[in-house]
């Protein structure tokens, strides 16, 4: 019980970094080889101006992640945390199944 009290203060710090790292790894892995990365690559090769394309795509990606965060925050205020976790957890499992289907499809 006492341990919990001691941990409480640390929780806020460690949580920030652990959430940051979890988010970073997940998004980075999901983004590698994704269609937006391929679009960035193609635009960069086509125009011959990689830096401009990089700036443009970075701003777009930052805005889109801001949109995602804001919608997530807004939705979680609207419905109960458990319901939100239920549906988003289910959504992520469905996405993983679609990705797995994409992999299996190449073997059929």
């Amino acid at each position: 019980m006492n341990i919990n009290l001691d941990k409480d203060e640390k929780k806020v710090e460690t949580r920030f970094s652990s959430i940051f790292i979890t988010t970073f790894t997940t998004i980075f892995i999901a983004e590698l080889g994704d269609k937006t990365q391929i679009a960035t690559l193609m635009l960069s090769a086509e125009s011959g101006k990689p830096i401009i394309v990089f700036i443009g795509s970075s701003i777009a990606l930052i805005s889109s992640s801001l949109v995602g965060v804001l919608i997530g925050k807004w939705l979680s205020n609207k419905i109960s945390p458990n319901k939100f976790a239920f549906f988003t957890g289910l959504l992520m499992i469905i996405i993983s199944i679609f990705l797995a289907y994409d992999i299996i499809k190449t073997f059929i």
Binding site: F16, I29, G33, S47, S57, V67, A85, L91, A100, T106
Partner: protein
Amino acid sequence: MILSLLLSTFLTIFIAELGDKTQLATLTMSGTSNKPLAVFLGSSTALVFASLVGALAGGSISNFVPEIILKSIASITFFILGIRIFINSFTPNEIDNND
């Protein structure tokens, strides 16, 4: 010329990214954690880093690592995260009311 390229890149990527799996993952993590800033910073840096690889490496990572492997890793990551969040949704949540 530069401005139009900037704008067209922005629009292409922004529209392609709406409703994409990465945005849905960001949405999920921002809603299930109470640190939206951490999620925003984490996902922004990851996306910028991935885009840096795409724009400057002159080739996407999929040139070096087969796409199947990348997709498998993504699929497993999403599955683990999804299961974890899904299971958490059945446990009574301990909301920190103390502050």
